[in-house]
């Protein structure tokens, strides 16, 4: 039976029908050749069928216009918009940032490159001239922090300074530090109020501040599935915001709620922006990544106190090098009655509380 339509799109070839005129095993003798040639040539391919369909001029023009429109949309969305030099540069920088490797595996040159790309992106996208550092840990330093719960009066000057220093969005309420108002006679943090707003200090209460404690045995580092967070040699636990996938497993693992997630894109006004930034610290973060206190890594690696310690008017915050036996923090740990939170979990936080 002759087939009217075959599945071969372009070619006209079809399997040769066997002809039984010749004996089996012998070559074709040409008996039914004419008939076979006609059969082969007459079955049109799919493309032929499509192109030879009868069509009015109006319909043909509208079909061609639709096709051209779809092709133009695909082309412009697929490749980068070629409208301006600046936009092309932004696209190129973003591409390079997307394919870069983990910060820990980078050579110094690659780190410098990524920093110049980030600085350039800030300039192009938001007209902000920022200075991003990549300073390494100072050898022979292990940062420690002590908090005097006899002195804290709940002023939250530390929170305000932290928000300013770390470019935190004041509208979303992202704050690394939480100050708890605790009833005298109790150490129960679960019944404490972390969101008070009244004249302080309130009678019958004391104040205890928490933030990321930069644990020596951090559970958040162990659970990160992609290796976006790690403990630096000077004890600070850092996050590479470009590597974080936002799974929030570290937030679940931290027993102190030290790590915060960006539910929204953080926005900071240009005049409030702190332009002294560090790659692992207070540079621009995006929606969907984790962030946390880094003991103001850009300040502390420069020899300065973190913003919270500098802002506290009562001197309740003590910061320094644990390895230095003459530092203030060493004196506090040796001579004062100190405790840490959730000591039984074995996280070895580097944030101690003490009383006068």
């Amino acid at each position: 039976m002759k087939k009217k339509f075959n599945l071969n799109i372009f070619s006209n070839s079809q399997p040769k029908e066997s002809c039984s005129a010749c004996g089996e095993g012998k070559s074709c003798c040409g008996t039914n050749l004419t008939e076979r040639v006609n059969t082969e040539n007459n079955a049109p391919s799919a493309l032929d069928q499509l192109l030879s369909k009868p069509l009015s001029r109006r319909k043909a023009l509208s079909t061609l216009a639709c096709g051209a429109g779809i092709a133009a949309a695909a082309a412009s969305s697929g490749c980068a918009s070629l409208s301006s030099e600046e936009e092309r540069e932004i696209q190129w920088l973003k591409f390079k940032e997307y394919v870069k490797t983990n910060y820990r595996l980078m050579t110094d040159e690659e780190r410098n490159n990524t920093i110049s790309r980030l600085e350039r992106l800030a300039e192009l996208q938001r007209s902000e001239k920022v200075k991003i550092k990549s300073s390494k840990a100072i050898p022979g330093v292990l940062y420690g922090y002590a908090f005097n719960i006899s002195k804290c009066r709940g002023y939250m000057d530390c929170v305000k300074a932290c928000v300013k220093e770390n470019n935190l969005d004041p509208d979303t309420g992202m704050q690394y530090i939480r100050i708890f108002e605790m009833k005298n006679g109790s150490m129960n943090l679960e019944s404490a109020n972390g969101e008070y707003f009244h004249e302080v200090p309130a009678a019958g209460h004391f104040y205890l501040g928490t933030q990321c404690f930069q644990c020596d045995n951090p559970p958040c580092v162990d659970v990160c599935p992609v290796g976006a967070t790690w403990r630096e040699p000077d004890g600070i636990v850092v996050i590479d915001y470009d590597w974080c996938i936002g799974c929030r497993y570290c937030e679940a693992a931290c027993p102190y709620w030290g790590r915060r997630f960006n539910w929204e894109q953080p926005k900071v006004e240009s005049e409030n922006l702190n332009r002294d930034q560090h790659y692992l610290g207070n540079r621009k973060r995006s929606k969907g990544v984790m962030e946390k206190c880094t003991f103001c890594i850009s300040r502390s690696r420069d020899g300065k106190l973190p913003a919270c310690a500098e802002a506290c008017p009562t001197g309740a915050r003590v910061f320094g090098n644990l390895l230095d036996p003459e530092s203030e923090i060493s004196y506090v740990l040796r001579n004062k009655k100190v405790f840490r939170l959730k000591e039984d979990l074995g996280t070895e936080p580097k944030f101690w509380y003490f009383m006068d």
Partner: protein, 215 residues
């Protein structure tokens, strides 16, 4: 066909030794020699604070040496309103028989009554606990020597030696310079008004975050 237990051949000693070696080897490989919390060797070398830096402290300082500690304190002489006393008093003696009201007029509220109400009762403290009758620009110590107003910690230490010892060592008071710098701390009077030392209550400077959602 399975042999009954008493018919199976026992393993030779060689095989037993081989098994033991394998188990020992696996145990050795799997034991983690890293202890948690000591992920790098703590060398005895530590970073000493930079003795040439003040790390963003700007201002006049005065050296202090007390309780075995040497450090700097912020000088406050230029911040005291009515200093030096000789700018108003020719004859710089204090008349201890003056009425309270006369004190108040001259010194904007510093009277003996206020002092006893705000600092310590009259059985423990009077103006002359710290000020000397003959030299009001300086403070008097118990052995008759005088110290400048910047060294007020010496008079505070008469009663508050515990706090001053903590302050000298760093557990009390406010550090003004960075951690990797020369130690500059605030004077006692930098935080505590000596005539009314208790810190006032006030409102917090910021309200706690709403945890994530834009208002």
């Amino acid at each position: 066909m399975n042999k009954l237990p008493h018919q199976r051949e026992e393993n030779t000693m060689k095989i037993h030794i081989a098994y033991c070696c394998l188990v020992a080897l696996l145990t050795l490989i799997s034991c983690d020699s890293r202890e948690s919390g000591h992920s790098e060797k703590r060398s005895s070398e530590f970073h000493k604070p930079n003795p040439n830096s003040l790390a963003n402290f700007i201002g006049k300082t005065v050296p202090v040496n007390i309780y075995g500690q040497s450090f700097l304190i912020e000088s406050r002489l230029d911040k005291i309103k009515q200093f030096p006393c000789s700018s108003c008093h020719e004859d710089s003696k204090i008349d201890e028989n003056l009425e309270d009201s006369q004190f108040r007029r001259a010194h904007w509220g510093i009277t003996a009554t206020d002092l006893n109400k705000n600092h310590a009762p009259e059985t423990q403290m009077s103006c002359f606990s710290c000020h000397d009758k003959t030299d009001p620009s300086n403070l008097a110590l118990e052995n008759g020597t005088f110290v400048g107003l910047d060294n007020s910690y010496q008079t505070c230490a008469k009663c508050h030696s515990g706090q001053v010892k903590d302050w000298a060592n760093g557990a009390h008071g406010k550090r003004l310079s960075g951690w990797d710098a020369i130690r500059v701390v605030r004077n006692c009077t930098g935080c505590h008004n000596p005539h009314n030392p208790r810190l006032e209550s006030r409102w917090p400077s910021i309200s706690a975050g709403t945890q994530g959602v834009r208002k």
